[in-house]
Subunit: 272 residues, 2 copies
């Protein structure tokens, strides 16, 4: 059994603590799975690559909606590197990509060397992995992690501020928490404005357009105890919803679960 | 004496609490002075307008250097409005503008209706006014305000992360504080990541390339007591230094001291 073959097992990959080693295995084509748990002290990012013509509007959309769309890295037009996030080649360093043309999914390649061009601009957006770790470290149990399920996500009625072609309502993720944990979670996630920050809503889902909390639009249905409140955070699926509606001629994202692993530590994202 | 004539006196303008009223007086051409103290509960912003070709690189520069270049508003190409900051026409709503061509100051008009075009993109950057107010409210005396002088600013050796043509070292502002006030100031300004956030340095100016603290590159020399530390914040002059070096064919900024008054409250910028 070759070393590459061993690495393909998720468990072997999850034992890798160093983000540079993980990316080099991915870039060689030796790992195409999920990145949850890999180099867990380091920030993982959502990917959105757009043609230059759409990139300025998307930059403005993210600037106007920082809670759902926190930009943690931005490439120069045509440059596959990402200053500040590590020695990254965005064309090869993500385990799986999705290619959308005019808003339709057309391919799921394992690199984008063939479609990369001088016209493309890379955006890396922060994700909730980075704030879930400090919540867990503070002793706050997160149901979807304990149950091995996917966090429930809902299309809310909270409008994002539009920018050019990009316009949509906010997608939110929900974690059921005791009131004491909810207060503590507000304090802790407030420290991480670069990865969604403080919750956007607590307690009354109908006020943000959620009719049935047991029927999420994405992810798994929750269990909410009588002693728990639903706590809602802005969710990184929001920019995907904006891209779906804008239908740019080309858009490249990561394959869900297969994110960009950066050299930035989660702890570096703390605002204070 | 006409109403317009009365408004030209700075004192009359400073008594205006409503940012919409202040902007409407400015847009009519009835006030061309400084904005310090006008609508003081509201965020004032530094202005940088660039051609579309340079705007993406500048957006990336700001994204990579959020402490000196905190973007609080971004327009769509060709659109003089600024979603989220109020009912603004950026061509008329600032008391004074500076026009730079190839990095050289060529004009100081009072509106930019004639040079506005579909090719231009507006950036509004947060400024230290917004964090000085909560410092003062917390009982921390700020020397330059008490003495009516301009805060001392220095070209430091702290490198900004470059993006395209934009590259420079960070300009920093300095406020002398007692150690206890310095600690409290770290806590307070940490709450405002959108307006430079926490200090970038405390106490040892030579470590960040400042040879003589008594000779600032901009602003007035400080007085530093034996019981005080120099506390340094990233400064909004930094993007101007970046633009000076990049020499874009066209760049429009506000005239120093004559800033954009927005409808956003300073308190809204608190991260927690």
């Amino acid at each position: 059994m070759s070393e590459a073959r061993q690495i393909e097992t998720p468990n072997a990959m999850m034992r890798i603590d160093d983000p540079r080693e993980a990316r080099s295995i991915i870039a060689r084509g030796d790992y195409r799975g999920h990145t949850a748990g890999v180099a867990r002290d380091y920030v993982q990012g959502n990917l959105c690559i757009l043609p230059r013509d759409h990139a300025l509007d998307f930059a403005a959309f993210c600037q106007r909606n920082p809670k759902p769309c926190p930009v943690i890295g931005m490439g120069a037009p045509g440059d596959p590197a990402l200053a500040g996030l590590g020695d990254i080649d965005i064309r090869t360093d993500v385990p799986g990509y999705r290619v959308f043309r005019d808003g339709e999914l057309v391919d799921e390649p394992t690199d984008i060397l063939d479609i990369w061009s001088d016209d493309l601009v890379t955006f890396v957006l922060g994700c909730s992995f980075s704030f879930e770790l400090p919540l867990i470290e503070a002793g706050i149990a997160l149901q979807h992690i304990e149950r091995g399920s996917v966090v429930p996500m809902y299309r809310s009625s909270i409008p994002c501020t539009p920018a050019g072609k990009f316009a949509c309502d906010m997608v939110v993720s929900m974690r059921p928490l005791s009131p004491a944990d909810a207060i503590r979670a507000v304090q802790i996630t407030s420290r991480f404005p670069g990865v969604h920050g403080a919750p956007v809503h607590i307690g009354l889902p109908q006020l943000i357009g959620i009719e049935d909390i047991m029927k999420p639009d994405f992810g798994d249905p929750p269990v909410i105890g009588d002693d728990q409140l639903p706590v809602f955070w802005a969710c990184g699926v929001t920019p995907q919803a904006a891209v779906e509606q804008a239908k740019p001629p080309l858009c490249i994202t990561h394959k869900p679960g297969s994110m960009l692993i950066t050299d930035k530590k989660n702890s570096e994202l703390a605002a204070f």
